[in-house]
């Protein structure tokens, strides 16, 4: 893979992001705020490592989905850290 030398590749990547914003009617700022609130709620019940969390929009056909992968810290380690 060449390192982002092709302008068409750049166009495609930019379009991917802007189409997600258009289709969901969410600005990048709102998406970020939603992620943070989600994590806050989840943290109230289980312990998570914010750095290991991955939350993003994915496209399947013309449908958007919010994909979240949130690894939980084992209960044992939670007890130990307390």
């Amino acid at each position: 893979m060449k390192t982002n030398s092709k302008s068409a590749d750049e166009a495609k990547e930019r379009l991917k992001l802007v189409l997600i914003q258009d289709r969901t009617n969410l600005t990048p700022g709102q998406l970020e705020a939603m992620k943070n609130e989600l994590l806050e709620v989840i943290s109230r019940y289980v312990e998570i490592d914010p750095k290991a969390v991955s939350i993003f929009m994915d496209q399947e056909g013309r449908e958007q989905r919010l994909v979240a992968d949130i690894p939980l810290k084992p209960a044992a380690s939670r007890r130990r850290t307390r």
């Binding site: 030398s5 092709k6 068409a8 590749d9 166009a11 802007v18 258009d22 496209q59 013309r62």
Partner: protein
């Protein structure tokens, strides 16, 4: 006969809606179909000049809708082909002179008489667009392989779905094979992946489109130009024929060679 109503739209202006409408109308008529095209761009009519029929206008769409003439009087017959007619837009009125239900009523009146009704939608997502898609059985979205046109096409495809007129079918117009090969133009495959709709046409950028528009003689009339052949292929796909697309991934013996081979007239 019970015509299918095909609306050509795009969101963004200047991507080639009118050129596409004119060429599909000509191609369908040359293939023995009876065609009426309607210019939906009230106040900014152009389908008449692209078709070369601007000097023959007496009545227009608004005259027809407001009852100042009969259907037959508003249908300008193209003398070059047996069964091609144009209902021009009014030039001195605005979009609000016609409503979506007027368009549905008008198309219902024309339907028994012809095989195809093609509507050239104005740019935008306002009244003129709503008017144009209201009677549609099939919506064709025209785009160019560039960011603003693709973005607007996505918006329009969503609106067409919301109006339950979907799924829209896509025409990628003005594809430049040299820029695409160099990686400086979105590949039709990329556009398709982004928009996730069914493709019905890839039209190469072609100087003969400019020349033919100057003359009011759409490229689909004559046999040799690449764009003309591509438009005729779209017309055949509309009629249910399986016509292969050019494959931009294979460029083993030169992109242009493959392009030309695939677009050669008579090759199905």
């Amino acid at each position: 006969m019970a015509a299918k109503v095909v609306t050509v739209t795009s969101g963004k202006g200047g991507v080639g809606k009118t050129t596409t409408t004119a060429n599909l109308a000509v191609a369908l008529a040359c293939q023995g179909q009876k065609v009426v095209c309607i210019d939906g761009d009230i106040g900014l009519r152009n389908l008449d000049v692209v078709l070369g029929l601007e000097n023959r206008i007496v009545y227009d769409l608004v005259d027809l809708v407001e009852g100042r003439c009969r259907l037959r009087q508003a249908m300008i017959k193209d003398k070059r082909i047996p069964e091609l007619y144009l209902i021009p837009a009014a030039q001195t009125r605005d979009k609000s002179a016609v409503s979506p239900s007027d368009m549905v009523r008008l198309c219902d009146e024309i339907r028994p008489e012809v095989d195809w009704i093609l509507i050239d939608s104005p740019a935008g997502i306002e009244r003129g667009f709503r008017n144009s898609i209201a009677p549609a059985d099939i919506v064709l979205v025209v785009t160019n392989p560039e960011v603003s046109a693709v973005r607007d096409a996505d918006r329009i495809i969503g609106l067409v779905e919301a109006e339950e007129k979907g799924p829209a079918r896509l025409i990628i117009n003005r594809v430049n094979p040299v820029l695409t090969k160099r990686g400086d133009m979105l590949d039709p495959d990329d556009v398709l992946e982004l928009l996730a709709v069914e493709l019905i046409g890839i039209i190469p950028e072609d100087e003969s489109v400019v020349v033919s528009t100057n003359r009011g003689q759409p490229v689909a009339f004559e046999g040799t130009s690449k764009a003309g052949v591509a438009f005729r292929n779209v017309a055949r796909r509309l009629q249910g024929e399986q016509v292969p697309f050019l494959n931009l991934q294979e460029n083993n013996n030169g992109f242009f060679g493959r392009f030309t081979r695939l677009l050669k007239p008579g090759r199905v």
